[in-house]
């Protein structure tokens, strides 16, 4: 059994890295995918098509270019991991979770206990809530190898 796992959300900590390394250490057959996580590159993606003076349209263009990547990757994944950090709004992570829920794609949330209440709708459609990348690694290992 192979899995295609999409990693959504927080880009300011090393959770993606820890997750990949942990799964590699167990030789799990997983392809990980992600949005472009370089913040500046992501914000300026639309500039390729010409600069915009208005911030709304600059964001709009960049978000659409990024969506070419993320939409394709989310629709192709078997499972998503959606990470909510302690800073920033991360509405795009919640948006991805809603997208997965509507598609019937299972997802795992990854966040601290102190934001359980505001994430209750997002968590209630998830297949699991983890607080550490290591727990996610254990779940993926269980899913893939405990036949």
């Amino acid at each position: 059994m192979d899995l295609n796992v999409y990693l959504s959300g927080e880009i300011h900590t090393d959770w993606r890295q820890r997750l990949k390394e942990g799964c590699d250490a167990h030789n799990l057959s997983i392809v990980f995918t992600s949005a472009v996580t370089n913040h500046e590159a992501s914000d300026s993606a639309g500039d390729i098509l010409g600069k915009e003076d208005d911030n709304f349209w600059r964001d709009h263009k960049s978000a659409k270019v990024n969506a070419i990547r993320t939409k394709t990757l989310i629709e192709n994944c078997d499972v998503a991991v959606v990470r909510f950090g302690n800073k920033y709004k991360q509405w795009n992570a919640a948006f991805d979770a809603g997208y997965c829920a509507a598609m019937g794609t299972p997802y795992i949330t990854l966040h601290d206990e102190d934001i359980v209440h505001p994430l209750k709708e997002v968590d209630s459609s998830a297949m699991a809530w983890a607080t550490t990348p290591e727990q996610v690694i254990e779940i993926l290992k269980y899913v893939l190898t405990k036949a």
Copy 2:
């Protein structure tokens, strides 16, 4: 032409009321629906099935009971209006927007200019971004009557 419009997001201001009254004033043929917006009733919806000591499971139970309502209403709506206020995380609003995007249901966002950047993914899949309920009323009036 009739419309079924789902109102998602912020529950602490009167935007739903202003929207409904404004549309009524124009005799627009719209049915508005919403999640349960009474905060306490919503948080304790799961208590009907027995109290929980653990906060996570209390939220989980309540969120699932609420989802019986919201999932049915979102899947039946023609258009959603998703409101992001200046307080609170409102991840459920972004979740609803992602759900609509995956379903192909058009939605309008309603929020101030200062949160344009964190909402860029949510806005880029929306059909319109409004800053006041009155703009949403004008759009619905246009959509319904400007044949």
Copy 3:
């Protein structure tokens, strides 16, 4: 808000009746539907098309005739209530729950605590687990009227 609620499972107790009467007492706008619950009529539904000597084919014919009804009703419902009693196998109830899960139709399970373990897969995809019809009535009342 109206609901179309499909009642699946146990046919030997009065839970359907209690549910309907309880919802009527609250004037809830619900249409309840069900398989044919007259056991003998249901078992002999296929006899209309000619008697069968072989029990397997008699059951097969009747089950298919019944499916004309149940498939139509399940696909049209907004919510299902799936009841597991203390007797009988009730595999058809679990089958209906799996059908709803695949369709994305929310369902509520109704069963005693002592069969929680064998029903864990069925319950984990449900939106709620109730132990009494009265709890289901309260949930439906909440869903329909607590706007």
Copy 4:
């Protein structure tokens, strides 16, 4: 022609083993998949995310973690074989059958004659009813090689 075959249901006899060995003996091009069939591992899958005191929530967590695996495998299979043994409730097997029926995925049931009547709804949507793993092997061999 290759087939991806999901094996659902009873975990206390060697039917999966016999099926795989029999198909191997005929060099059939089949990938077999399954839920985690180690009963204890399956029941404790959710403990990875923290222990639960309440049995319902322990089952709930484990069932959801297991569903990451089973949902992915069922949605990817071409055919399912659903086995009902003489012991246990096996509502999850009937649930899987209902899921397949709604998805339009063909499935074969495997059970003794004495439970034909309670399984009539499950059997009537199946493509075949077998009483021995050897019959299933013959069917798969026919499907794959009798061009």
Copy 5:
């Protein structure tokens, strides 16, 4: 419970009439729909758009105009009754049955016993095989009223 029933196939006997009258006699809440059953009108439907010299294109145009009607009606029906008479090829009836099968729409076949063998694929996806309109009436009556 109401039903929308599409009547497909043979146009040279009075089976549609008998079916409608029989259901009316039982006050069943059924809307019956059908292709245009006037043979000449149906064959010349495309002539509205200009005459064709070539028979293939005349048939092609008329068949497409008729499909505006039949596609809409088949996709809206709850159940189809597909009638195979003893004369003519009636490939359009088998085509409609295949269309229903792919859509997951239940259908009942209506034909004599002597064509069971050539209709085995069509019958094996049907919910019932009847030999007389009266049997179909009894089934529809059972489905609608035996709650």
Copy 6:
């Protein structure tokens, strides 16, 4: 039988009016819908949300607001009539035809013979090609009344 018919394309001639009046004259049970056909209102629809200096974004905003209307109407229609006049590009009409084709919604094209060649892909997925509104009226009359 009722029909919901969406009228797409050319806005500078009276074809919509002739079509509606002709169908009314035959008492056909049809609801006709359309995009906003007032050219100026349509072009400035986005101005409700604030003026744009850049023509591309002004068009973008207006087109999205208009899509709230058109997407809803096209997805709800049974049949579309797509009109290509002799002037203007009318790429939106071809876009609507492609949208219908992908949705499986039958559509009728309405255009002169001299543009048959550039419209061959659009026509080849259509159910009929008409050259006058009167022919479309005759087809709709046939579809609705020639049972």
Copy 7:
């Protein structure tokens, strides 16, 4: 570009063989699939699960076992070729065409001119009508190589 082509219909002439050899001769990258075309093997497929005295049920069982194969292959194909010979009813071929039409799978019909009229509904949803296997080979060659 590769194609997966399903060959449906007539089993008493060598059209499948001619088609495969002709495509091989052009080195076209095509995987051809088919139902079991050995008539006796196909008719007795259900006997694996126990003999039936009643012809209807024998056909029923065999047809369902065969459908495990055909349903999987049809749903996986890119294009179907549906052959109607001059003998036999071939309702299964028309059934397959209807199935393809509902799935949106393109198909080519292959039949003589004298049965154009009874096949008009089947042909009108087809992408092409050919009278010889050689024409089908030319079309497949064009589709695959004329970039």
Copy 8:
């Protein structure tokens, strides 16, 4: 990450060639597909099945044969690039864009600024508007490599 990119529209300039070469130069993992772009071959595709005197039917036959190719390729692509040149109607390009929009397939438009207004509906559903093949190359490079 790999991409399957469908190139739709204008066939009289070298934009396809420039796009492919540019992506090759960056070693991007892309499979490009296209309709048959040899104009004469495309127009005469239907002649394989017999010549037609009537231009409409000649175009109709050829367009349907071409659709076997284009429908398969569009439904398999991850992203489409839709090119509108300064000459010709190119309704088929707008048709493809509408098809993609209904399928939820992201597409990029490629056209000069002077046709922004007539393309506003097509552009407003696109993920990006480019004016040169080089911009499209940059976007594809960003999407594929800027992880």
